[in-house]
C-alpha cells in the first residue's frame, strides 16, 4: 500500500442538538483497503460514514480526503471556515456512495441513472458516458436492464444499479451504508458478489454492514463502534476470534448467536 492514506480522520465530533453521536474519532484508511464498520445500531457508524463525504456536517475535528480537507477550508486569516458548496461537491464527486435505500432516481432509466453524474457533473460526452455505463452495467450483471425504470427492478438489481451509478464517477473510494440491510435474504448474495469483485479489483472501500461473514472474508480491517467511539480496530480474524474488548465480544455474541 502506498504511503499516503486515502482518508484521514482526526478527533471527529458530531452533535445532534444535545446528543453527542461521534465522540472523537481517529481513523486512517489506506489506498486499496477494505474497512468494515460494525457495532450496535445508534453507535454512530452511519453518521461517521456520512461525515466522510460531508452529507453530514461535523462540528469538530478534521476529515482529510487525500490532500483536501472535507467540508471546511482555511480562510485568509487562517481560521477554519465552511468550504464553498462547489468545492465540497467536487471533493464529494471523488467518493462514491451506496445507500441502504438505493436512492435511484425513479424518473430515469437505469442507464440514465448511471450517466447522470458523468454527463451533468463531470461534463463528459454523452456517447462516451453511455458506452462506459454499459461496461459497468455489464459488470454488475444488469446488461439486460439498461432501459428499465428502477420501479421494475428487484431490490438486488436496484442496489447493483446504484453501485454502477457510483462507479461511473470513477471514484477513488467507495462508501457503503448498510447496502444489503433492506434486501430480501435471497438477494443479499448478488450484491455482496459485486462488492467482493470490487474489493478484488483494489477499490478502497469503507463499509457499514451487519454481514459478519462478508466482513470476515473481504475486510482488511474490521472496526467496532459503540456510543460514538471506536471500541477496537483489527484484522478480521483478530476481531472475530479474539476480541480484546468486552463490548466487542458481547456484540458479536448477540449478532452471531
Amino acid at each position: 500500500m502506498s504511503a499516503a492514506p486515502v482518508l484521514r480522520v482526526s478527533n471527529l465530533h458530531k452533535h445532534y442538538g444535545r446528543l453527542h453521536v461521534l465522540r472523537g474519532i481517529d481513523l486512517t484508511v489506506d489506498r486499496g483497503e477494505v474497512l468494515v464498520m460494525i457495532g450496535p445500531s445508534g453507535s454512530g457508524k452511519t453518521t461517521l460514514l456520512r461525515c466522510l463525504n460531508f452529507l453530514e456536517v461535523y462540528d469538530e475535528g478534521e476529515v482529510w480526503f487525500g490532500d483536501e480537507l472535507v467540508g471546511y477550508q482555511r480562510n485568509r486569516a487562517g481560521r477554519i471556515v465552511r468550504d464553498r458548496e462547489s468545492h465540497v461537491a467536487r471533493v464529494r464527486a471523488r467518493m462514491g456512495m451506496v445507500f441502504q435505500g438505493f436512492n435511484l432516481f425513479p424518473h430515469m432509466t437505469v442507464l440514465e441513472n448511471v450517466i447522470e453524474g458523468p454527463v451533468i457533473v463531470q461534463r463528459r460526452k454523452r456517447e462516451e458516458a453511455i458506452s462506459a455505463a454499459k461496461v459497468l452495467l455489464d459488470r454488475v450483471g444488469l446488461a439486460d436492464k439498461v432501459d428499465a425504470y428502477p420501479s421494475k427492478l428487484s431490490g438486488g438489481q436496484r442496489q447493483r444499479a446504484a453501485i454502477a451509478r457510483a462507479l461511473a464517477m470513477q471514484p477513488e473510494a467507495m462508501l457503503f451504508d448498510e447496502p444489503t440491510s433492506s434486501l430480501d435474504p435471497e438477494l443479499v448474495g448478488e450484491v455482496l458478489d459485486v462488492m467482493r469483485n470490487l474489493a478484488a479489483d483494489g477499490m478502497t472501500m469503507i463499509i457499514v454492514s451487519h454481514e459478519m461473514g462478508f466482513a470476515r472474508e473481504v475486510a482488511d480491517r474490521v472496526m467496532m463502534m459503540d456510543h460514538g467511539v471506536i471500541v477496537e480496530v483489527g484484522r478480521p480474524d483478530a476481531i472475530f476470534n479474539a476480541p480484546t474488548e468486552a463490548r466487542t465480544s458481547e456484540f458479536l455474541r448477540r449478532v452471531l448467536h
Partner: protein
C-alpha cells in the same frame, strides 16, 4: 309555486354574459400570472436555507392565508391608494389582489411538492457531486412537479371562482354583469341559475383534469 320561467332572457342578453366572461378571463389571467410567478418564488424562498429569504416568505404566506380575501381586495382598492398614492383601476386591483392571495397557496403547493421528495434523493444527487442548483433542476423538481400539477390545477379552478369577488370593486366580471342585468330585467332566478351553470361548465373540466392526472401519475410513480 307557480313561477313561470322565462329563459329567453338569457339568450336575448347573451352579449352581457360574453362581456362579463371576457373580464372574468382578464382577471383570471392577470391573477394567475401574479399567483404563479410570485408563488413559485415564495415557495423556493420558504424552502431556502437563507434566513433573510425564508422568514419574509413565511410571514407573507401566513398573513395572506389567515386574512379574508375580501378584506385584502377592499384594502388594496381603498386603503392602499391613501397610504401609498398607488391608485390602480378596479380590474387591476382585482387581479393584483386575487393574485397576491393565490400566491400564498401556490407557494405552499410548491413547498409541499419539494418536501414530498424523499431525502435519499438529495443524498444520492449530492453523493455524485451535484450542487444545489443541479440537484434541484435534474433530480428534485422533475419529480416534485408531477406531484404539484394536480393541486395547482385545483388552485386554478379556485382562482376562477374567486374572480367573482371582483364585483365588490364594481369590476364588470360575470357576477357583476349579472347583477346589473337583474336590476334591469327583474329576472334573478334565470340569471343566477345561468351564471352558476356557466361557471360549472368552465370549471368542472378543470377539476376533472386534475383528478385524472393525479390518478395517472399516482399509478406510475
Amino acid at each position: 309555486m307557480g313561477y313561470s320561467w322565462y329563459w329567453q332572457i338569457i339568450w336575448d342578453y347573451r352579449a352581457v354574459f360574453f362581456r362579463g366572461a371576457v373580464v372574468t378571463g382578464e382577471l383570471t389571467v392577470g391573477a394567475l400570472a401574479i399567483g404563479l410567478t410570485l408563488g413559485l418564488s415564495l415557495g423556493l424562498f420558504r424552502s431556502s436555507r437563507i434566513v433573510v429569504l425564508r422568514w419574509p416568505a413565511a410571514v407573507y404566506i401566513e398573513f395572506f392565508r389567515s386574512t379574508p380575501i375580501l378584506v385584502q381586495l377592499v384594502w388594496i382598492y381603498y386603503a392602499l391608494p391613501i397610504l401609498s398614492g398607488i391608485q390602480m383601476g378596479n380590474v387591476t386591483s382585482g387581479a393584483v389582489g386575487i393574485g397576491l392571495h393565490s400566491a400564498a397557496y401556490v407557494a405552499e403547493i410548491f413547498r409541499a411538492g419539494i418536501n414530498s421528495i424523499d431525502r435519499g434523493q438529495t443524498d444520492a444527487a449530492k453523493s455524485i457531486g451535484m450542487r444545489y442548483g443541479q440537484l434541484m433542476r435534474r433530480i428534485i423538481l422533475p419529480q416534485a412537479v408531477r406531484r404539484m400539477i394536480p393541486p395547482l390545477i385545483n388552485e386554478f379552478a379556485t382562482l376562477i371562482k374567486l374572480t367573482t369577488l371582483g364585483s365588490v370593486l364594481a369590476v364588470d366580471e360575470l357576477l357583476h354583469e349579472s347583477e346589473n342585468l337583474i336590476n334591469n330585467t327583474y329576472r334573478p332566478l334565470e340569471v343566477y341559475t345561468a351564471l352558476a351553470v356557466a361557471f360549472a361548465v368552465i370549471i368542472f373540466p378543470v377539476i376533472y383534469l386534475s383528478q385524472r392526472l393525479e390518478r395517472y401519475w399516482g399509478v406510475r410513480a
